[in-house]
Structure formats: C-alpha cells, structure tokens
Symmetry: C2
Subunit: 251 residues, 2 copies
C-alpha cells in the first residue's frame, strides 16, 4: 500500500474564506482582486496555502487576520471577534488550471466593520453584496454590463456558504455573530431580514427571541441609535442551539 512519500500524487492544499457581514440592507461577502493569472483582475475569495505544520482551522484564522485584520472569536470571549467554521472541501481536478489544488473552505460571520485593509492594499479588497456576486455566476448567457463572476469555483463556494448561513441562523444563535457585542432586538431582526431577504413582524420577532431561553441576555443599557423609543441592549447568551428554532418563512 502506498505510504512511500513518492508513491502518491502531489496535492496542494489551500483554505478559502467566505466572509459574510450585514451592511446596510445587503448581505455582503469579502472579495479580493487577483493580481496574477489565472483570472487576473477578477475578484476571488480570500485564501491561501496551508503551511506544513499548520492545522486547517489555524490556516483559515491566519488568512483572515492577514487579509482583513479580523480576529477569530476565542473560546474565552464570545463577544468579540468573528465566528469561524469549516464549510466544505472542493477538489475537482480541473478547478485550478495550473495543478491539483484541494481547497478547504471556511465560513466566517462578522459584524459590520470599517472597510478592510488587505495588508495595506485598499484597492484590492472590498465588501460586495452576495446577490451581485451570485447573479454573475448564475445568470446564464452573459447579460450586458453584468458583473464578472468570481474566479475559479468561488461562485459555488460562496453560494454554499450563503446557504449555510441562511439555514444555520434558523436553529442556532449564530445571527448574533453579525451584530456588535451589544445590540437591540431591532438590530438582530434586521440581520434576519437581510440574510433571509424577507420582512419579519417586529412584534412576533420580539416575543420569539426574548422568549427563547439563553438566546439574549439584557445588559441593562438602552440606546436610541436607531431613533424612536430607546431600545434595550442585549448581548448573546450562552445558548448555541435554539429551541424552539427561528423558522424561515417559506417563499
């Protein structure tokens, strides 16, 4: 059996990052402009090679910090930092024209942030609405003036990441990962509305999330940053699985 290092084919292993955030009224993903062939000049997901003695998740966290300055959420402090989880692995032999590359994709959920700095190169990194990015991939037959699709198979990876996020906020408290450490019920509702692309009843939503044990913990403070009557501030509770779940309205 082939355990001689020269007996098996050479693979390159990379990590790709689907970094999502809620900005304004759109779910946005972080994309970087490719500076070299192939797909030179096109947008792609951030990512890079896994190092020899590096765990896959450590590689993803390192690339995230290198390209965005974001820190990954530690086990001690669940308030600060971004959520990171493995998404899926993509290994089609022809996904990279140069060689055999197996890419482990990670999903990152982050609060809205100032524009990221890609190691000082501000022109080569941006937040883009996922609807725009996916329309370029899915739209059959190149409409006029449509945005260019993402490089490699990154359009599919992004679509998988968005679908994961959409379904996971149903039965887990992950939606709070899109919010700042302290947030209001209205801000959390806007996260659900933007990620799902629906409009939710504010009254039923409030009753539901405040009635789910362990989801939200009141901090005692209030804010008027949304205008109107001051709203209570909350932080994420310890619960990770929501019971009962938030149910996404069907189309």
């Amino acid at each position: 059996m082939p355990y001689d290092p020269s007996a098996f084919p050479p693979f390159a292993v990379t990590v790709d990052l689907v970094v999502l955030t809620v900005r304004g009224h759109a779910l946005c993903a972080l994309v970087v402009r490719r500076g070299e062939p192939p797909y030179q000049g096109q947008w792609a997901l951030p990512g890079g090679f896994v190092r020899v003695d590096e765990d896959l998740e450590a590689a993803a966290a390192r690339e995230l910090t290198e390209e965005t300055g974001l820190q990954v959420q530690g086990p001690d402090d669940p308030c600060a930092g971004a959520h990171l989880e493995q998404l899926a692995t993509y290994g089609d032999p022809r996904r990279d024209p140069r060689m055999r590359v197996v890419s482990v994709a990670y999903l990152v959920l982050a609060p809205d942030l100032p524009t990221p700095t890609a190691g000082g190169d501000a022109d080569s990194v941006r937040w883009a609405p996922v609807d725009d990015l996916l329309a370029a991939d899915g739209g059959s037959g190149r409409e006029e003036e449509g945005p260019a699709p993402l490089a490699f198979d990154h359009g599919r990876i992004l679509a998988d990441g968005v679908e994961r996020a959409r379904s996971k906020i149903e039965y887990s408290s992950l939606a709070t990962a899109f919010c700042p450490p302290e947030f209001t019920v209205g801000e959390l509702r806007r996260v659900y509305e933007v990620v799902w692309g629906v409009v939710l009843d504010p009254r039923n939503f409030h009753r539901k999330v405040t009635g789910t044990p362990g989801f939200l913990v009141p901090t005692g403070g209030t804010t008027t940053r949304q205008g109107g009557r001051p709203a209570q501030l909350f932080r994420a509770g310890g619960a990770t699985l929501l019971n009962p779940p938030m149910l996404r309205p069907e189309a």
Copy 2:
C-alpha cells in the same frame, strides 16, 4: 506568490468513509481491520488515497464500492444504492504519524445488507454498533475489557458523522436511505428510533409522515413481514426537505 510546484509543502489527500446502517436495534458503522502499522490490528474507517485525476466524491464512491460492493445512488434511480455526501475535512498536522495527510470524510447511509466482503477478505471488515465504537473513544481511563478505540482520529470522524445523520433526518427525507426500496411506516419509524435512540409514538408518527407532502408514496402493495396486520408499502417520494420537519424529542 508560491505557485511553483516545488514551493509548497507536499500533502497526501485521502477520503475516509463513515458508512452507517440500521441493523436490528443498533445503528452500525462499517469498520475495517488495519493490516499494517501504525495502529496495526486496530479497527479503522474504510478509505484510501485520492487519485491524481479523480474528483473527491468519485474517490469516495470508488472506495465504497471496492470495500463493500455498495453502489452509490445515481440521480436517475433514487430507490437503489446508498446516499453519499461530504461530511468534513480533517487536517491536523499530527493526525497521521508518518506524514501530513488531509482526509476528506464522506458520510454514507445504506440499507441493511448482508455482511460486506472487503475484496474477499471477510475477517477484516464488519458492522459494529456505533455506541460500542464511540464508547471506546469517549470512555476516559481505559475500562477493563473495553473495545479498542478506532485508529487515527477516526473516532471523532465517526462521531461527527453520526451527529450529522441524527440531525439531518430531522429536516430531510434521508431516513429513507436506511430502508429498502419498499418499506412500511413501521420500518421507517424503527429507523428513527434506532438512529435517535428514542421511542416514538406509532400513531403520531404515522399521522406525521403520511401527512408530509412528498415524503412517502404508496406503492399499493402490502406486507406482513413484521407480523400483525398487513402494512402498506411505500417508497421514498421526491421531497428532500421535510416541511414541517420531524422533531427529535429532547433528552
């Protein structure tokens, strides 16, 4: 940037299979005995190297057929064959003592079958209850006469696969993948009971599954193979997502 083939470290890429079935009153996984070091003589998940020009999923399907004779479910004929889906990827630098191996794990759900033949070697492959396999891993401090844990990090991979199966039959019709092409409501209920380790009310279960559109399609036939009154035979309907979902009773 390092796209020179000699510039990145050499990785081996393998697939590992978590093959689950329901046998009698236990959820069982397929394990093979290792014939060589490391972990010689211990049980491990089936798997092997990905070939140079082979897609990851194709490698998983090939290993499945080679080690069990099982065919993967094709898109044309959803009745026969096993369900195959990607589970997760494991790449800790020290998970294999010989070299850096990144393993893409796949989850296979299969109906109960005659004992598999591992390329003719019947002594080196068997179905084992997952509770036994996981007790060996989780049980702290080596009890007397406890079964040996699985090789490598296969105990954790198996645990992840079992948890995926347990949660996925809640909101999808995947439980039918554990059943033969034609099955009764009672047989499907036993699948849920064994996978979840609970007892379900037969009357509520019957009302629920027959009332979920697209889940079950009556074939017109009946069977008395379970004893008692003849039961209607069904096959899996086209629905993949169950709405409303089956809810797992909480502990």
